[in-house]
Subunit: 135 residues, 2 copies
DNA sequence: GACTATGTAACAATAGTTGTTACATATGAT
DNA sequence: ATCATATGTAACAACTATTGTTACATAGTC
């Protein structure tokens, strides 16, 4: 969803867009969008102003934003899958496996992000445009 | 959790282990383990027998099982994040972006799996053993 | 100062996962 | 054969996370 919103912002080429408009595009509620925009602001991806005739716009050109940044901004609080584990220390495996798995998954995450880095937001826009035009 | 269970199985070197024992190790309920074992069976990773004195064991040696297989077996039904989207077709971006993002995320997934492929279950065991011994 | 749009809180609705109990069924042991 | 054991599976409660909704204070424009 984050990518969707940013894509719309990119589409609007620097114009400020309101959360209400974005919500219409993604087909959801303006508040959801505003919550998302807050995290994107924290990641310095968008620039939001209050007041009449305002809204949000990209902070950088679409060519200088890659998907890994967006991914990190959005998923930062979701470290894969650590659902309230209570590792049983009595088990010889349970005691030490946790940190090993964390290490391995972190590496895998990095690999995923490296792949996402290859694609910029501008690439996405172009692909979407091409795909739409083809229809 | 799947990795944890398989690690215990590997630790037991081919002996059959009951779901009750595994549940104790992971500190959860035997039914949870059995549900997990069903999916691991489908992926041909474990071999489970019913009856007295039975249980589950690895289907292959730990050196021949890599983490990507486990990941795929477990996450196969979870295609990243597609939460009940109703892409608004009225929006020019919304209409076509979906399949583009799917394509990109699929590539990123592959990158992640390629990284996981580098680690075998045996590697995990050894790392855990070393890490435990070091303490 | 009126209007507009964001920031934020509170809360309901929904979905997904985990945990629990219960029971039928298949397998192995005696 | 009979019995004990362990899985397969269903039904349901508990918990968590996400999404959606309403409401309102606040900041910036005109």
């Amino acid at each position: 969803m984050a990518v969707h919103v940013l894509a719309v912002l990119a589409y609007k080429e620097g114009d400020r867009v309101t959360s209400a408009f974005l919500a219409g595009s993604v087909n959801t509620n303006p508040v959801i969008i505003r919550r998302l925009l807050l995290t994107l602001q924290r990641a310095k991806l968008v620039d939001t102003c209050k007041g009449a005739g305002s809204g949000s716009r990209l902070n950088r050109s679409p060519g200088r934003i890659n998907l890994a940044e967006i991914y990190r901004a959005v998923e930062e609080a979701e470290p894969f899958a650590t659902p309230a584990r209570k590792p049983n220390t009595a088990c010889p495996v349970g005691h030490c496996i946790r940190k090993e798995l964390d290490r391995i998954f972190e590496s895998a995450q990095k690999a995923l992000e490296r792949d996402l880095e290859k694609t910029s937001l501008a690439d996405v826009i172009n692909a979407v445009k091409a795909s739409c035009a083809a229809k």
